[in-house]
Amino acid sequence: MSYLLRAVSPLGGAPTDLLLAKGVIAAVGAEATAAAGERGVTVVDGSGLVALPGLVDLHTHLREPGREDAETIESGTRAAALGGFTAVHAMANTTPVADTAGVVEQVWRLGRAAGWADVFPVGAVSVGLAGEQLAELGAMASSAARVRVFSDDGRCVHDPVLMRRALEYVKAFDGVVAQHAQEPRLTAGAQMHEGIVSAEVGLQGWPAVAEEAIIARDVLLVAHVRSRLHVQHVSTAGAVEIIRWAKSRGINVTAEATPHHLLLTDELARTYDPVYKVNPPLRTQEDVDAVRDGLADGTIDIVATDHAPHPREDKDCEWAAAAFGMTGLETALSIVQQVMVDTGRMTWADLARVMSVTPARIGRLEQHGRPLAVGEPANVTLVDGAARWTVDPDRLATGSRNTPFGGRELPGRVVATFLRGKPTVLDGAPAREAGMHA
């Protein structure tokens, strides 16, 4: 089965036709148009739709193995496909922790079997995420899962010696250490951003300096050992400033921002609704503005969702008892469109860069984040940028309801997603055959 995408706008440019056949983009333009009417070619009317390389998330919690009550690889990758993603990086904080070749291979195989999006497991930096002893990074790198991204996400690799060793060790296989920057002593018991709102609502503060101090240390470390550092979920103005400085010095660091840190602020904690409880916490408007500026000027390289599903009982309670985290796979594209594209700060090509091309490069993925050109893998997402939709937590595909965007009207709707030429989403709905093609 081949697909002819008629009159789509690659990266928002002039409309053209794309022919997807045998897993690749077989033809572009008139040559593709000529395939119309051929046997086995399904025509998709793409007029008014933007064609993007399939989105790549560098930061996803799929929860399997261990917390299948929150999400499974099946439900999480289906949500990813509906959000326009063709590849997701599954974080290591599962039960058991993804700190061995066995666990990462299991996650990778379950992703293949589900078939909605390619799942690239992230390996833990330390055994059991305990921050004491390096996990077998080499074994994970050379496993079938071919791990390149390592992270203790959820916890910070706070021991400077362990961090140094990890940065050094991953050089052997061109890996990257993705750091959850949170000084643990400064954030013991922390519940929300420390500032005016925390002082008033009486929730223990998570100071910006606890994020910034670790980032400052790590950029100096990575410069010293000449490795690769990726900073996860940058949330403060000071963190953006430090990364900007590091890049100006030529230090090999990349950084991500989440959709929620591009839009929401700590004022929401006044509701005591734990749906707004996340780590790092929502910051101030000044921080949000700085993160947007950083994304616009390239200081922040990519957007990553930090999709963190939780079952209802972990959010339907008092704030302090609730879990940290928000879902995000199905809303990420819309938030970035609203905040960056519709405001004129970014083009669709920029969006493709921060949500597909660069995350794929950081994760060293060869088959994702590629140009929409003949011979390239047919990983394509079609977006209706003019559409608007209202987020209904009950109607999202993720296994959990903890979206902070419930009730919001957002721009942009994923109409179709193709993974190696096969639709995982068509007409904005899951394509049923997807699960059968591994």
């Binding site: 005016i196 002082a199 008033e200 009486g202 929730l203 339907d316 309670c317 008092e318 302090a320 008892a321």
Partner: protein, 344 residues
């Protein structure tokens, strides 16, 4: 008034109405038979997730003096460690017929969640949540200040005057001293006392003053002697927990001796206060840490009276919440027939 969750919920007319109602309640408490029939048939649940014998007994006494049925439910520890969620506990109590839930909880915002999450439809009265709010404490403090001091800082004479009924605390200067960071009492007091027209100055070591305090409608100082030299009308000492001292507790101050030396209220400091100033403490006191025995037992101390006033204020709150009395701008003038009738 449907709920009482935060002192910020009280506008000036409502706050004065609560204090005036409390004054009427207090008057009934001097009688031989203290019990009123006002809330007969109503059920009040004291839902305490934290040990607080004093506050619980105060609410219990208040409810019983108004003839309400009282259920005490002590659920030690957080919902997580206990294994039953706050939601389930609250729904269980509602199913047993609670009309109002008085809740004390270690998590800031728990009363807010109880009132707004749609778990239950009872009235909710916050009896202290985490480091957030303790509105009835602020009300009893304001009530106590108003009984003793008229606007401008003149001491009212005995119990014969009008005790400030109908008025606020305009122009009175109140110093609140101690662990500002962890205090729900101070958050409620800053809001309520300023709503009533008082000027509040917070005093404590910088480690125990929260980041973000600059947005509060008050002054902040690290110098107790400097603030006392300005002659505050009332000095409110906050409890300092000895556990805050050690490294495990955060290491907020070096030693009890240094704390007492810099921020404790003792006979020497009390002697420098103006004649009319009063000394307050929400209790329980650490004698010899934030307050010396000389200061606690001095004639200026109204600490024991605060306890008695606590019952009157909580009677007023329970009455206004449970009897469906209009409050704030919707209310008839203070001291109206309605409120008098209730207190009869």
């Amino acid at each position: 008034m449907r709920h009482l969750l935060s002192a910020a919920d009280l506008d000036r007319p409502t706050a004065i109405q609560v204090l005036d109602t409390a004054a009427q309640m207090a008057a009934t408490q001097a009688r031989e038979i203290k019990k009123l029939p006002t809330l007969r048939g109503k059920t009040v649940v004291n839902l305490f997730f934290e040990d607080s014998t004093r506050t619980r007994i105060s609410f219990e006494t208040a409810a019983k003096r108004l003839s309400a049925d009282v259920i005490n439910f002590a659920a030690k520890g957080s919902s997580v460690s206990k294994g039953e969620s706050l939601k389930d506990t609250a729904q269980t109590l509602q199913a047993m017929g609670a009309d109002a839930v008085v809740i004390r909880h270690p998590a800031s915002g728990a009363p807010h969640s109880l009132a707004h999450c749609g778990w239950v439809d009872t009235s909710v009265i916050n009896a202290g949540d985490g480091t957030h709010q303790h509105p009835t404490q602020a009300l009893l403090d304001a009530f106590t200040i108003r009984r003793h001091l008229s606007p401008g800082g003149v001491r009212r004479v005995g119990a014969d005057g009008d005790q400030g009924v109908g008025g606020g605390l305009d122009g009175l200067r109140v110093a609140i001293v101690g662990d500002i960071l962890h205090s729900r009492v101070v958050r409620s007091n800053v809001q309520l006392l300023t709503t009533l027209g008082a000027e509040v100055t917070l005093v404590g070591p910088p480690t125990l003053v929260p980041i973000g305090v600059e947005a509060w409608p008050c002054q902040t100082s690290y110098d107790l002697d400097g603030v006392l030299a300005t002659g505050p009308d009332a000095v409110m000492m906050l409890r300092v927990q000895r556990e805050r001292m050690g490294a495990g507790g955060g290491g907020f101050f070096p030693s009890p001796a240094e704390y007492m030396h810099l921020y404790g209220l003792d006979a020497r400091r009390i002697a420098r206060l103006p004649e009319h100033s009063i000394v307050m403490h929400p209790g329980p006191m650490n004698r010899g840490l934030e307050i010396s025995a000389d200061a606690a037992d001095s004639p200026r101390s109204v600490i024991v009276e605060q306890v008695a006033n606590g019952v009157a204020v909580r009677m007023a709150v329970l009455y206004l919440v449970l009897a469906g009395v209009p409050t704030g701008d919707a209310a008839p003038a203070a001291g109206s027939a309605d409120a008098k009738g209730a207190a009869r």
